[in-house]
C-alpha cells in the first residue's frame, strides 16, 4: 500500500503539470494579458475564469465526491493555489467555492445543498462574505448585526438589522453569507448564527469604500429590516461560531500566497536586470535575501501541509504561512517599487481600467504599484498579523 502522503505528492505534481498545460493551451489570451499586467478584472472576467476552472474540475476539486468534487487532499489543494499564482493567474474567488460551499455541505440542510451547491460550483451565483463590522474586525465576538426570528403564516423568517464592512465584491454578489446575533446578552459564542441573505432583498444597501489603489474592491453593506426566510439559516441557531471557525480554517490555509510571492520575485529579478548599474549590486543582495526567505517559506509551507495531513501539526502552521507569506510578499513589492524608481510613483489609476500603458516604465508598472497598495491590506485581512501572532502565542506557546 502506498503511503498516503507519497500518493498525495504524486497527485499534486500531476495537478501542477495539468495546470501548466491548461495555462499554455486553454487559458484565453485576454485573461492572461490582464492578469500578467495586474490590471483590473471585471465581474464577467472573474465569472469566466471561475467557470474555466470548473470545466477542468478544479473550482471545487477540494469538495467531497458526493458533491461533485474530487476530494483533493490538503496538499493538492495547496499546490493548486500555489501553481495558479506562480503562473500569475487571476484570483480564485473564494467566497462561494472555498468558504460558503464547504459550510453548506458540512452543516446545511438537504434543501440548502440542492439549492446552493450546484450554482456555487458554476458561479451562476456570486457570493460575498458578511463577517466584519465597524466594531468587530479581528474580534468577531463584537458583532452587533441582529436577526430576530418572527413567526408568520407564510413561515418563519428573520428580520436582520446591522452593518457589515470590508465586504469584497458585494457590488457583484447575489448572496451574502452572514454572521448575525440571534440572541441577546448571552455569551458571544452562543449567540451567533450563520445566515444566507439574498442581496436583492429589500433593505440591503451596498456602499463602496474607495481604497488607495483606486479600485472598488470593498463595500459597506447596510441591512435594514431585511426579511430572511428561516430556511436560510445554516445548521442550528447559536452555532454560527462553530461554522465560522470551520470556514476560517479553510480561509487561512492558503497556497496562493506562496505562488504570488514566487511570481512577484521572478518579476523583480527581471526588473532588476534592467536597473541602472549603480544600484544593481545592492539590489542583487536584496533580491538574494528575498529568495532565501522565499525558500524558507516554501519548504516550511509544504512541510506544514504534510504535518496537517498526518495529524502531527502544532497548530501554528496556517499562521506561519500567512505571516511569512504576506510579509515577504510586501517586501518583494517594495523592492519592485524601488527598482522602478520614478516609474514606481507615476500613476494613472484610470490606465489600469482602460488597459492603457502607464506614463512611465514597463507595461506592468501600474499593476506593480496597484498590487503594492492592495497588498498593504494582506497583513490586515483574513486574520491580521497581530491576531496570527496572538493565535500562536496563546494556542501553541501557551503564553
Amino acid at each position: 500500500m502506498t503511503d498516503p502522503i507519497t500518493e498525495a505528492r504524486q497527485r499534486a505534481e500531476g495537478l501542477k503539470a495539468a495546470i501548466r498545460s491548461f495555462y499554455d493551451g486553454v487559458m484565453p489570451a485576454d485573461l492572461k494579458r490582464k492578469s500578467r499586467l495586474h490590471q483590473v478584472l471585471d465581474k464577467d472576467d472573474y465569472v469566466r475564469w471561475m467557470r474555466l476552472l470548473n470545466d477542468q474540475g478544479w473550482a471545487i476539486g477540494h469538495w467531497p465526491k458526493e458533491y461533485g468534487g474530487q476530494a483533493w487532499s490538503l496538499l493538492e489543494r495547496f499546490a493548486f493555489e500555489d501553481q495558479l499564482a506562480r503562473l500569475g493567474c487571476p484570483w480564485v474567488i473564494p467566497f462561494g467555492v472555498k468558504y460558503v460551499g464547504p459550510v453548506i455541505y458540512a452543516f446545511g440542510s438537504p434543501e440548502q445543498k440542492a439549492r446552493f451547491l450546484p450554482r456555487i460550483a458554476t458561479t451562476d451565483e456570486f457570493w460575498a462574505q458578511g463577517y466584519s463590522e465597524p466594531g468587530a474586525g479581528s474580534d468577531l465576538a463584537g458583532l452587533r448585526t441582529e436577526a430576530i426570528r418572527v413567526a408568520s403564516s407564510e413561515g418563519d423568517h428573520y428580520v436582520v438589522n446591522g452593518q457589515k464592512v470590508w465586504t469584497t465584491y458585494a457590488q457583484w454578489a447575489d448572496w451574502l453569507f452572514c454572521l448575525v446575533k440571534t440572541a441577546r446578552g448571552e455569551q458571544a459564542q452562543k449567540s451567533i448564527s450563520f445566515l444566507l441573505i439574498d442581496m436583492r432583498s429589500p433593505g440591503v444597501t451596498v456602499k463602496p469604500i474607495p481604497t488607495m489603489d483606486g479600485y472598488h474592491h470593498v463595500n459597506e453593506v447596510w441591512l435594514e429590516n431585511v426579511r430572511v426566510p428561516a430556511e436560510n439559516l445554516v445548521g442550528a441557531e447559536g452555532e454560527g461560531w462553530t461554522y465560522a471557525k470551520y470556514l476560517l480554517k479553510n480561509e487561512r490555509t492558503a497556497g496562493a500566497i506562496v505562488g504570488m510571492a514566487w511570481h512577484a520575485l521572478e518579476r523583480l529579478k527581471s526588473l532588476a536586470a534592467e536597473a541602472a548599474p549603480a544600484s544593481r549590486d545592492r539590489l542583487e543582495t536584496r533580491i538574494g535575501e528575498l529568495e532565501l526567505r522565499f525558500m524558507a517559506l516554501e519548504v516550511a509551507s509544504y512541510q506544514a501541509v504534510e504535518s496537517m495531513m498526518r495529524g502531527t501539526e502544532h497548530g501554528a502552521e496556517a499562521s506561519l504561512i500567512k505571516l511569512r507569506g504576506t510579509e515577504l510578499y510586501q517586501h518583494i513589492a517594495e523592492a519592485a517599487v524601488d527598482t522602478l524608481g520614478l516609474a514606481g510613483v507615476a500613476w494613472d489609476a484610470a490606465a489600469l481600467h482602460a488597459a492603457a500603458p502607464p506614463p512611465l516604465g514597463p507595461e506592468d508598472a501600474g499593476g506593480i504599484i496597484k498590487d503594492h497598495f492592495y497588498n498593504r491590506a494582506a497583513t490586515i485581512f483574513g486574520g491580521a498579523s497581530e491576531i496570527q501572532r496572538n493565535i500562536v502565542a496563546k494556542g501553541v506557546l501557551g503564553l
Partner: protein
C-alpha cells in the same frame, strides 16, 4: 543665509496656522479634484505670506532664507500634504536661478516667482535612449517624471551642450512651441509630466559647465534636504494619528493600545520620528560644509529617512487596520506622499551608495576627526 532658529520657528508656526485654517483634510480633497492638481488660491496666499520669496535674495525683496527656514516651511508642507509646487518652483527652480541666473534673467524672472505668477519646474531625469541635447539654441530629447511639469510656466532643463560640450542647464518656455507635454498624476495626486522637445528654443542658464555642475550639486542637495523636512512633517502626523487611534479603537473589550506589542511598535515609530528630525537638522547644517562632508550627511540622511518613513507609513496603515488603506482616512494619503517623497531627488539606494562613497573619501578619521 541669515535667519536664525527663532525666525525659522516663527515661520513654522505661521505656516502651520495658515495650513490648519485653509488646508484641512476635507479642503484638500477638493484640491485633489482640481485639474491643476493643486490649489491656485492657496498658491496666491503663499505669495502673500512670502513663502515664494523665501529663497530669493534680499536685494530683490526676498528673504534669503537659510536651510533651516526652508525646512520649517517644508515640514508644514509635509504635515498637511500641501499640493502646490513649493519644492519644485520656490525652492529648486528658484535656487537654480539664484545661483546661476544672469542679472537680466534674474530681473526678468524674480518678480514673477515672488508673486506666484511664474511657476518653475526642473526637468532632469531622462530616458537613456533619448538624452537631451542643445544645438544652436534648440533643445531636443526627452525628460520624464518632471514634478509639476504639467503646469510649469518655465522649465529648467539639463542637457548636453552640443555646440561646446559638457552638461548645462537651459531655460525653456513650454508655450514657445516644439514641446510636447504628457501630463499625469503621481501616486500622491500631484501633477507631473513627461516632456518631448523637438527643437524647442532654449536659453542657457549659468556661465559655464563648471559653474553649472557646482550649483546643480548644491541645489540638488538642498532639494534632498527639503524632501527630508517634508518627510519629517508627514512622519510626525502619522505617529501622532496612530497613537491616538491605538487609544480609541477597541477590540476584545479594550483599547488596542493597551497591548504591549503595539505599544512597543508605537515607541519604535516615535524613535524613528526623532531620528528623522535629528538627521534632517544635521543635513540642513551640512549644506554649508565642504562637498564630500555634505554628501556624506545629506545622502546618509535621505537614505535613512526613505527607510524610516516607509516603516512609519507601513505601521500606521497596519495599525489602523482596513481603514488605513481607504481614501477616506488621511493615513493612506500620507503613505502615498511618502512614497513619492522617497523616489524624488534620489532614492534610497542611490543616496546610500553616495553615503558609502563619501565615507571612503573622508577616510578612517571621518568628519569629527
Amino acid at each position: 543665509m541669515n535667519m536664525d532658529l527663532e525666525t525659522a520657528a516663527m515661520l513654522r508656526d505661521s505656516a502651520a496656522r495658515y495650513a490648519a485654517d485653509n488646508y484641512g483634510f476635507l479642503q484638500r480633497h477638493a484640491v485633489l479634484r482640481e485639474a491643476t492638481g493643486y490649489s491656485t488660491s492657496a498658491w496666491r496666499d503663499y505669495a502673500e505670506l512670502g513663502w515664494l520669496a523665501l529663497r530669493l535674495p534680499e536685494a530683490h525683496g526676498g528673504l534669503d532664507a537659510d536651510p533651516l527656514a526652508v525646512g520649517a516651511l517644508m515640514e508644514v508642507v509635509g504635515s498637511r500634504l500641501l499640493m502646490e509646487p513649493v519644492l519644485a518652483s520656490a525652492i529648486v527652480g528658484t535656487g537654480l536661478l539664484v545661483k546661476l541666473g544672469s542679472d537680466a534673467q534674474q530681473v526678468a524672472l524674480f518678480p514673477g516667482l515672488a508673486d506666484g505668477s511664474l511657476r518653475l519646474a526642473f526637468a532632469d531625469a531622462e530616458p537613456a535612449d533619448s538624452p537631451c541635447r542643445v544645438r544652436g539654441g534648440r533643445l531636443s530629447g526627452r525628460k520624464i517624471s518632471v514634478l509639476h511639469g504639467d503646469v510649469a510656466d518655465r522649465l529648467i532643463v539639463s542637457a548636453l551642450d552640443g555646440d561646446n560640450g559638457g552638461r548645462r542647464l537651459y531655460l525653456v518656455d513650454p508655450a514657445a512651441g516644439e514641446t510636447e507635454i504628457t501630463r499625469y498624476r503621481l501616486v500622491d495626486g500631484r501633477g507631473a509630466a513627461n516632456l518631448h522637445f523637438a527643437g524647442a528654443p532654449a536659453e542657457p542658464l549659468g556661465a559655464d559647465t563648471a559653474a553649472v555642475e557646482a550649483a546643480l550639486a548644491e541645489v540638488l542637495d538642498e532639494a534632498a534636504v527639503a524632501a527630508c523636512a517634508e518627510a519629517l512633517g508627514a512622519v510626525r502626523v502619522l505617529v501622532t494619528t496612530t497613537c491616538e487611534y491605538l487609544k480609541i479603537r477597541k477590540q476584545f473589550g479594550r483599547a488596542i493600545g493597551t497591548n504591549q506589542a503595539l505599544q512597543h511598535r508605537a515607541v519604535d515609530m516615535f524613535l524613528l520620528q526623532e531620528e528623522v528630525a535629528a538627521l534632517t537638522l544635521a543635513a540642513q547644517q551640512a549644506l554649508g560644509r565642504p562637498a564630500v562632508e555634505r554628501a556624506r550627511v545629506v545622502s546618509g540622511a535621505k537614505a535613512y529617512i526613505c527607510n524610516a518613513a516607509r516603516h512609519v507609513a507601513n505601521e500606521a496603515v497596519q495599525m489602523h487596520g482596513g481603514l488605513g488603506v481607504t481614501e477616506e482616512l488621511d493615513v493612506s494619503h500620507y503613505f502615498r506622499r511618502l512614497m513619492v517623497n522617497a523616489a524624488l531627488f534620489g532614492g534610497r539606494d542611490e543616496h546610500f551608495a553616495r553615503f558609502l562613497a563619501a565615507g571612503q573619501k573622508l577616510g578612517a578619521g571621518g568628519m569629527h576627526a
